[in-house]
């Protein structure tokens, strides 16, 4: 117990916060990448790359911290989730490799064919990363068949179910909206005007896919909203989220992209909070055999480790906050290209 709350619950919150941090921060990098080919001119593409080049690596670290947090706090869930999602996860990882090296390699040669090739690699890998991330999230939310050893008891074709695919597309739409809004904050003139339009269109794309996924959930997977029905005071979370989503097109229209960005960041966080509330206390639910499900209790590390982890998080998080803010502050404002730019 720490401050009256069980260690396992604390670590569930920490893990959730890290994953939200990842989704918000790398979300705009991935979204900016996924819309890369909508930008036509070499100059525009170069500005878009340099808008994220100094910070994407720091953003991706949140994924590494999240993986470590799950491994350390809930090793049984770490083992089950990553061995279950073997195939989509490997594709996700290869996507991450190509996203990273595309950013790194693109600027190293001036030839147009070289740059165009890396633009395609970059854009496609960002799309694949977003889709596979959403596919895995959708399947975690919906639950997987698990056997008595708490290992996945089906084939990878299983993941391509309607809900998984819908969450996957919604994730891509969300990131593209988020990324487009980020890029408008970093650009000027004609590129800004173009991104303004794109941000608008991706918002429509997101709202449509979000509404379809929500309706499908309410109609076909009613158990996902059970917890909210039982605890009406929690309806504040979806209501806040809907307000945030509604605020995005409003701010885009007003040209206040900083507020639109805050709203889309809050949308991501609230979506994940909703998922976390619905799932609690399960980390991986098995609808086919609920007794095999993985919870924050049966998957957890020892008390001693949980204590150490909380100390690590209490020391580490403010430090990470300080460096992240310092680096973001250094590269604040519109993109300025110089001789060290990519």
């Amino acid at each position: 117990m720490f401050l009256g709350i069980d260690y396992n619950v604390w670590w569930y919150l920490v893990f959730g916060a890290v994953i939200s941090g990842y989704a918000i921060l790398d979300g705009f990098d991935l979204g900016a990448g996924a819309l890369h080919l909508f930008l036509n001119k070499e100059e525009s593409r170069r500005i878009a790359i340099n808008a994220i080049a100094p910070i994407w690596d720091g953003n991706e670290v949140w994924l590494v911290i999240g993986g470590g947090a799950l491994f350390a706090g809930f090793p049984v869930a770490y083992a089950a989730i990553f061995s279950a999602f073997y195939v989509p996860f490997m594709i996700f990882l290869v996507g991450l490799i190509f996203r990273g090296i595309a950013i790194e390699f693109r600027s190293k040669e001036p030839m147009l064919w070289w740059r165009k090739t890396w633009d395609i690699v970059y854009c496609v890998s960002c799309i694949i990363i977003s889709l596979s991330l959403g596919l895995m999230l959708g399947n975690v939310v919906q639950g997987l068949p698990l056997n008595g050893d708490k290992e996945f008891a089906a084939n990878w074709i299983f993941f391509f179910n309607p809900f998984g695919i819908m969450v996957s597309v919604t994730t891509l739409a969300l990131f593209m909206m988020h990324g487009a809004i980020y890029l408008t904050m970093k650009t000027r003139n004609r590129l800004y005007a173009k991104l303004h339009l794109l941000a608008n269109n991706f918002t429509i794309f997101f709202v449509i896919s979000f509404v379809i996924t929500t309706l499908y959930t309410l109609l076909f997977i009613p158990h996902l909203s059970d917890y909210f029905r039982g605890h009406p005071q929690l309806f504040i979370v979806p209501i806040l989220m809907i307000l945030c989503i509604a605020n995005i097109p409003r701010q885009i229209k007003r040209g206040k992209f900083r507020y639109a960005f805050l709203s889309s960041s809050a949308t991501i966080a609230l979506l994940l909070i909703m998922v976390a509330i619905e799932a609690f206390p399960y980390l991986l639910y098995s609808p086919q055999s609920p007794q095999n499900s993985i919870t924050i209790h049966n998957a957890a590390s020892s008390k001693e480790t949980m204590k150490i982890l909380l100390i690590i998080a209490l020391i580490g998080t403010p430090l990470v906050g300080i460096y992240t803010s310092f680096v973001f502050w250094t590269f604040k404002g519109k993109v300025k290209l110089d001789d060290m730019s990519y």
Partner: protein
């Protein structure tokens, strides 16, 4: 092939490829700190050009290190689920600490290191360089601690039975400072610094042979030479200390590195040779009783041999362990010889006059790379058949739900991706090196502005 061998090949391949890059980042990090420090202290443009040149190379290396490193963190879960459950309590906390204390520091300030030259003041940039270097050092700390715990487990107890059996921390600091952590960490750090130093030596030796960028190449070469000389000698000490630790904690590994079978006999130390595992004998050129002396200070002391371990509890690939170990030692000795000889010639003021020596230095970049890979192969194959020494066997550590087909799929995928990656890396590295640290206009500025009094500049 079965799941175990495929999963091991995949792990060895992905970690081996990844491990080309992080040591270079650590080593180049130190060189960058020195070069940028000299630039700030002297204001000499030459050091500015050298720093900015190596920052560009650092960015390339770091980028591939990050891209290939992220695979590693998740491969424990994908391929080694049973292992992950078994060690999660311990290994996981080290990995979490690594992410938050090391990677966040490194990757955060990397942005300023690479893109911040014109954005922040020189001291802030210098501090960022130092922080990136520290971040890379810390990242080695946690992963080496986690791996050392697998070699010499400490500070834990075993709970549960059957499928739920796992190790739990009882004493965090005993886990962190397990018997092999410190020796192995120092050994890995120094090996990494040597990887960076020899890359700088190699590139600058090539410029010197080609008679290009001499104003920058000569002082850079000297900086790296000093680093190489100091650290290659220090590596002898950490290597010796590691070997003594292995003798105490992992006797089967010690016996395997020298192909020593008979517990009643003194153990020899080979310079090179091979192990005939059928006849249970190592052959080659050796110092009689050398290993006995190394461990016990006595050439005649018997050393515990492989025969005293049950067949299923000692490494089966003895010759491979023997060869990797001796490859590492040989590379280490050549590095010492080269850097000492180079320093001697510098003292005699003849360092850059011997073209053959510069040619050797161009190729010397491979030495620390071979030593690093061979050293890790020795450590990991020498630990077999255990994944956690004495506690969990590698064959019991796999993911039960993952099939051989899935591993073949990912192995083929990674092989193709890494071949492309490596080819592109070499191509771009080569381009950058051929382009050199300065454009032609800047070269003129240096020629007119470099005639200052500076001991490191005159040769």
């Amino acid at each position: 092939m079965d799941v175990e061998i495929l999963a091991r090949i995949q792990f060895a391949f992905t970690i081996g490829f990844h491990y080309i890059y992080p040591p270079l980042s650590i080593g180049l990090g130190l060189i960058l700190v020195i070069m940028e420090g000299l630039y700030l202290k002297t204001g000499n443009k030459i050091f500015e050009h050298a720093t900015r040149f190596w920052i560009r190379i650092f960015a390339l290396i770091f980028g591939i290190g990050v891209a290939t490193g992220i695979i590693m963190e998740f491969e424990f879960g994908t391929n080694w689920a049973t292992y992950s459950k078994y060690v999660g309590d311990i290994f996981g906390s080290a990995l979490a600490a690594e992410g938050i204390f090391a990677f966040a520091l490194e990757s955060g300030f990397l942005g300023i290191l690479i893109f911040g030259w014109n954005r922040v003041t020189p001291p802030v940039h210098f501090i960022s360089t130092i922080l990136v270097f520290f971040g890379s050092l810390f990242s080695a700390v946690w992963i080496v601690v986690a791996n050392s715990w697998q070699q010499t487990p400490a500070g834990f107890h075993i709970v549960g039975e059957g499928l739920n059996v796992r190790a739990e921390i009882t004493d965090f600091w005993a886990m962190v400072f397990n018997p092999s952590s410190v020796d192995r960490l120092l050994h890995v750090w120094i090996a990494a610094i040597l990887a960076g130093a020899f890359l700088v030596l190699s590139v600058n030796a090539w410029y010197i042979i080609k008679n290009k960028h001499l104003d920058i190449a000569r002082p850079s070469f000297k900086i790296a030479l000093v680093v190489a000389a100091i650290f290659s000698l220090l590596q002898l000490a950490t290597g010796h200390s590691s070997a003594k630790g292995v003798a105490q904690n992992q006797p089967a590994k010690l016996a395997a590195v020298e192909g020593h079978y008979d517990s009643s006999a003194k153990a020899d130390m080979f310079l090179f040779g091979y192990v005939d595992s059928k006849k249970q004998k190592a052959r080659g050129l050796f110092i009689p009783g050398g290993l006995s002396f190394l461990v016990y200070g006595n050439f005649d002391a018997p050393v515990r041999g492989l025969n005293s371990f049950k067949t299923g509890e000692r490494p089966s690939q003895v010759n491979a362990v023997f060869q990797f170990y001796h490859m590492m030692i040989a590379c280490g000795m050549i590095m010492i010889a080269l850097s000492i000889y180079g320093t001697y010639l510098w003292w005699r003021e003849k360092l850059f006059s011997k073209k053959w020596l510069m040619t050797i230095f161009v190729w010397s970049v491979l030495l620390p790379q071979i030593a690093n890979q061979a050293g890790w192969f020795t450590a990991e194959m020498g630990r077999q058949p255990w994944v956690v020494y004495g506690l969990l066997k590698t064959s019991d550590a796999l993911s039960k739900s993952v099939t051989a087909h899935q591993i073949v799929f990912s192995l083929v995928l990674f092989t193709l991706v890494y071949i492309v990656l490596f080819a592109l890396f070499l191509f771009l590295l080569n381009k950058k090196i051929t382009h050199g640290p300065v454009d032609d206009q800047s070269q003129d500025q240096i020629d007119s502005g470099s005639k200052r009094d500076n001991p490191i500049m005159s040769h």
